[in-house]
């Protein structure tokens, strides 16, 4: 036996973190981080706040997270059985899978032939949104706090009033010939 099994909430959080980390991988938060596989440098979806976003009622998913956890771990156990992989039972089955196998399983669950595809695509969409949009935070606040996703993308900072303006936006010169069939109103003929 390994270390004691995580309690229900932690179990769910670890499972969903491992899923989010498969969508947008990040570096481990600590050397003993099990949920985050450490497949990429910098923060990933977990550090970006994926769990906080998924637990936001506005998503419509917050009441389904226990079901997601159970289903994902059920699929992970079946996957491990199918591939003869031993699983460390001190962590949820999906967390126990190596990163490459987490990836293979998520590919299968979101693949065009899978009957639960829509559910897993939905979970992946929100995991992705935590990273790419920080949808659980005001964007200006997220940027000010160095949100890993927006920062990784190079999303630019707003002005002092929290709004974006780009006074420099154009090369300011003609860069192609217009189509010869353009009408006087600027439309195609």
């Amino acid at each position: 036996m390994g270390s004691p099994t995580p309690d229900g909430n932690e179990y769910r959080t670890m499972t969903l973190e491992a899923f989010a980390d498969t969508i947008v991988p990040g570096e481990k938060r600590s050397p003993d981080d099990r949920a985050v596989a450490g497949a990429s440098t910098g923060g990933g979806a977990v550090q970006a706040g994926a769990i906080e976003l998924l637990e936001t009622p506005a998503t419509g998913l917050s009441n389904s997270l226990d079901d997601y956890q159970q289903a994902l771990n059920r699929h992970a156990s079946a996957y491990a059985d199918e591939h003869g992989l031993p699983l460390d039972d001190s962590v949820p089955p999906f967390v126990a899978l190596p990163f490459a196998d987490r990836t293979s399983l998520v590919q299968a669950l979101t693949g065009t032939g899978h009957q639960e595809r829509e559910l897993w695509v939905l979970l992946a969409l929100f995991a992705n949104m935590a990273f790419d949009t920080a949808a659980h935070l005001h964007t200006a606040d997220a940027l000010a706090a160095g949100h890993p996703g927006l920062t990784t993308m190079g999303f630019m900072q707003p002005g002092d009033d929290g709004l974006w303006r780009f006074p420099e936006y154009s090369y300011g010169k003609q860069l192609a010939d217009p189509h010869p069939g353009t009408t006087s109103s600027g439309s195609p003929e």
Binding site: T103, N128, A140, T152, R165, S170, Q174, L175
Partner: protein, 551 residues
């Protein structure tokens, strides 16, 4: 509510089709009530913010179907509030398209020459202006230079944008904070209100029934202003005329649900849906090649890295809009910006060794986000979309409090549509990968199916009752007094952004609606000027009025 209210003209939806009808009918003297399912926001309400619950989730709808996802507006002003304001006219050959029906899809009464004066009315009203190269953003300039390098032409796109007010913030999908985008909130709708029209936000029409006097009773739910899954009331309004303009994703659903009370609907209601043949490719630009190959240099010395800067699409390439080419081989390409979230999840890694849309390689792609260039393709699709039985309310089973829902449409692209996408993908690749300028991949259709920001044709006009739901004046066949003026009336894909064509058709439908209202005893006349009082557009359509107001 126990008492049924009454009005002369009840309009469902306040986007282009609804706002144009509301203005003209109110200005002509009719009592007009507009029911809009979304909230009513104005400039100060439009947030630069991706937080769930900010304006972009309040005013935007994303309905996932089986094989097709629809993106559209959900607010007073409809699509005009969330769109990118690109406003070209449809090319001449589009009106001769046959699609899959073996005959001209458009009514014989309509071609480009017929529609041009109606286009002019809309151009005057919004107004729409030509942009020049000083308006063209870095992303548009890069696309233009790449087209030039590939031996192609590229045009600045006509747009409904006030250049003096635009800050190039690229938050257009959240609504324009600066009132630079000339949405309907700035022209037709305030003019309609000034003439006494009433607009009720958060009123979602469910179905129609007939009244004893030959009019219609419109049943609606009142939607909670934060959690759109919650209904906080319901009611009915009687009207002599109903104008449906709920959008191509909702108008057919209302009619399907009304079949129990109105009787059989025309066969084409909820069929022949077109996604306007839309497709996206994302390129990752090699900054050094952009500088060396295309000579591009920003003031700070960088070549590009400006994905975030701009105002949606500003440059289009129309070399494949050639009427001599076979149908489905004609398309336009447009440089575009989508904000992260929807604009990142579907982008794929070129030559991925693992998953293409998530995982390690995708994260590396996202690191280069400021060097992304997105190209929007509009081909001729095959009107493949069919709506299933309507959901209990609205046009989708809502998943999230706002924005996200599951709809009933199914869409299986035919070989024709797939060919159009393949041919256009190849052209995009040729333009952008030439001489190592960029790496490019189309967005995946495996997650949410194909997708469209321009749903069309689900309740379309035509001459053939088997394949069109509306006659050439946009009245619903066999249900006199119900008109449809939104994108669902457009017969098929247009190969360009459709908002101006939807609007021109709505303008053209007004004389017929006025005539029908008169016949039902409404004291209303046709002939309002442009919302700002201009009269040149009105003069231009004068010659067509007798035909449109015939009995």
């Amino acid at each position: 509510m126990t008492n049924t209210e009454s009005t002369d003209v009840l309009i469902v939806g306040s986007g282009f089709g609804g706002a144009i009808a509301a203005y003209h009918l109110a200005a002509g003297g009719a009592r007009v009530t507009v029911l809009e399912r979304g909230p009513w926001l104005e400039a100060d309400d439009f947030d630069h913010d991706f937080l769930l619950g900010s304006s972009y989730t309040r005013i935007f709808d994303f309905v996932v179907g089986d094989g097709m996802s629809l993106l559209g507006g959900n607010c007073v002003g409809g699509g005009s509030v969330v769109y990118f304001a690109a406003m070209p006219r449809a090319p001449r050959f589009v009106f001769d398209r046959q699609g899959s029906i073996g005959r001209r899809m458009w009514p014989a009464a309509i071609d480009r020459d017929v529609l041009d004066p109606w286009y002019d009315r809309v151009v005057e009203a919004l107004p729409i202006t030509q942009q020049d190269w000083n308006d063209v953003t870095y992303a548009g300039g890069l696309f233009a230079a790449a087209c030039e390098h590939a031996g192609r032409t590229a045009n600045p796109v006509p747009a409904a944008i006030d250049r003096a007010k635009c800050t190039n913030c690229n938050w257009m999908m959240s609504g324009c904070r600066f009132d630079a985008k000339r949405s309907l909130l700035l022209n037709y709708l305030p003019a309609a209100l000034a003439h006494g029209a009433e607009i009720r936000p958060l009123h979602e029409v469910q179905h129609l029934a007939r009244t004893d006097d030959g009019g219609y009773r419109v049943h609606y739910n009142v939607i909670d202003d934060t959690d759109y899954r919650v209904h906080v009331g319901s009611g009915t309004i009687d009207a002599k005329i109903v104008v449906l303009a709920a959008g191509a994703g909702a108008t057919p659903v209302i009619l399907q649900r009304s079949e129990a009370t109105l009787g059989t609907m025309p066969h084409a209601v909820g069929r022949y849906f077109s996604g306007n043949g839309e497709r996206l490719n994302t390129a990752v630009v090699n900054e050094d090649r952009a500088r060396d190959l295309l000579g591009l240099k920003r003031a700070d010395g960088r070549a590009f890295r400006a994905n975030q800067i701009g105002k949606g699409p500003v440059v289009a390439s129309w070399d494949n809009l050639d009427g001599s080419l076979p149908e489905h081989s004609r398309f336009s390409l447009e440089q575009l910006y989508f904000p992260p979230g929807f604009g990142t999840i579907l982008a794929q890694v070129p030559d991925a060794t693992g998953p293409s849309w998530f995982g390690v390689e995708k994260k590396e792609l996202v690191r280069q986000w400021q060097s992304w260039l997105t190209v929007f393709t509009m081909v001729e699709d095959d009107n493949e979309g069919v709506f299933g039985p309507p959901p209990p309310t609205g046009n989708a089973a809502r998943i999230s409090q706002q924005m996200l829902g599951r709809g009933t449409i199914s869409y299986r692209p035919t070989a024709n549509t797939l060919r159009g996408w393949a041919e256009s993908d190849a052209v995009v690749k040729d333009i952008l990968e030439r001489d190592g300028l960029a790496r490019v991949m189309p967005w995946t259709n495996d997650l949410v199916g194909a997708y469209t920001v321009h749903p069309l044709a689900s309740c379309r006009i035509g001459d053939d009752p088997q394949t069109s739901a509306l006659d050439d004046r946009q009245e619903l066949r066999n249900h006199p007094g119900i008109f449809v003026t939104d994108g669902s009336a457009v017969p098929g894909a247009l190969t360009v952004n459709p908002a101006l064509t939807i609007s021109a058709l709505a303008e053209r439908a007004i004389p017929g609606i006025v005539r029908a209202a008169q016949e039902r005893g409404v004291d209303v006349r046709y002939g309002a000027p442009s919302p700002d009082g201009g009269t040149s557009g009105r003069r231009g359509v004068q010659a067509q009025l007798p035909g449109l107001m015939r009995r």
